[in-house]
Symmetry: C2
Subunit: 218 residues, 2 copies
């Protein structure tokens, strides 16, 4: 197909496609004349993945190139590719290695030990969790640590449902794209549903919830 159709199929504007070609995110099409090239279904899929990484993951061009290289490295299983991409999509936060950070590290290790989960040292979620727990220590809010097991149970149920759905996808490229997109989007979805649940639980499920700006009589 020509670049105009590639654009139509992927909803990516032609100038953006040309930019991705120049930046090496997308491999060149097969040149058919001095100013025309043909693109394939492979280009459609790659472009959809680039769009997913940029729009959903919020990745820069450099970070997207890095993720794509890791995802499509030779000899990787789909699971490993998805894992690599997900590891690369986490923006590392600056670490302050104070006493609270050390306490957060210990809590993270202790939790994984209690859960019996086998997690690689390289999984960036270790740092995400440690950072959140360190903040609890810094603010003196360690009472919330009691909630970790309930969170872990909820996360495990969700993860099992996600993987069960994922393995039904016969196309490996589509599976990879779904894994990357949904892993990132799922965080927003859970965040929104948790806030909905807070409101519904706090104000009671049966009565219509009042506007928070309205006068409260109770």
């Amino acid at each position: 197909m020509r670049i105009a159709e590639l654009s139509r199929r992927t909803d990516v504007p032609v100038p953006t496609i040309k930019f991705y070609l120049r930046e090496g995110l997308l491999s060149p099409g097969e040149r058919t004349s001095h100013n025309q090239a043909q693109y394939t279904e492979g280009h459609v899929r790659r472009l959809r993945m680039i769009r997913a990484l940029v729009e959903v993951g919020g990745l820069s061009v450099a970070a997207t190139r890095d993720v794509l290289e890791k995802m499509y490295a030779p000899g990787m299983s789909v699971l490993d590719s998805a894992g690599k991409a997900q590891f690369a999509m986490v923006t590392p936060r600056p670490v302050v290695e104070d006493a609270a950070w050390e306490a957060g590290c210990r809590e993270t290790e202790a939790l994984l030990e209690r859960l019996g989960w086998h997690i690689r040292e390289t999984n960036p979620a270790r740092r995400t969790l440690t950072s959140a727990l360190a903040t609890l220590y810094r603010l003196g809010q360690t009472g919330q640590l009691q909630l970790l097991e309930e969170y872990a149970r909820a996360a495990r149920r969700v993860a099992e449902a996600e993987l069960a759905l994922l393995v039904q996808e016969p196309d490996q490229d589509a599976l990879l794209e779904t894994a990357v997109v949904w892993t990132a989007l799922g965080d927003s979805v859970f965040s929104a549903l948790r806030r909905f649940a807070h409101e519904d639980v706090a104000y009671g499920a049966s009565a219509p919830a009042p506007e928070p700006s309205a006068q409260d009589t109770d």
Copy 2:
């Protein structure tokens, strides 16, 4: 207490406290001489909340002032204050009102209807969820919509545990601080645990997980 002790108690440096005083985030202490003022436990609590909003919520000074005004508006219940603060802590994303956005809106409404949850029109989580679902539509990944109910169940269990723990807090200021801090941090905690669960479920819970960079023989 003097400003040095206020700093020690809250782990906020004196110049930062002076900045918050100038910016009106913190009310002035009681002046005891031309260059000294006395601060109270109320200042300690307010300063902890400011730190929580800035560090955890990532809020700017202007946004923090806005949240504090809403939280401590007269005549609000603790629940309403916490709700106001949480509503204000969501950074609104730009909305592209295309067909995918419309589809996302419909999905959000249909889900709340199925769940029977009463959610205010003003809850910014509506927009968060709609935005995530619109992205699924734009990328043609609507198969993942099947996961919404499992997500909602998980979110509800977590929210119930959180509110049950929260109402045990007798001090209203501490309750408010916890609600604000934990609502924001809980998202990171769940995100990390979900990634842990993905790894543990994908690679099997019994065998030690291989490093993704190692050669795979299976």
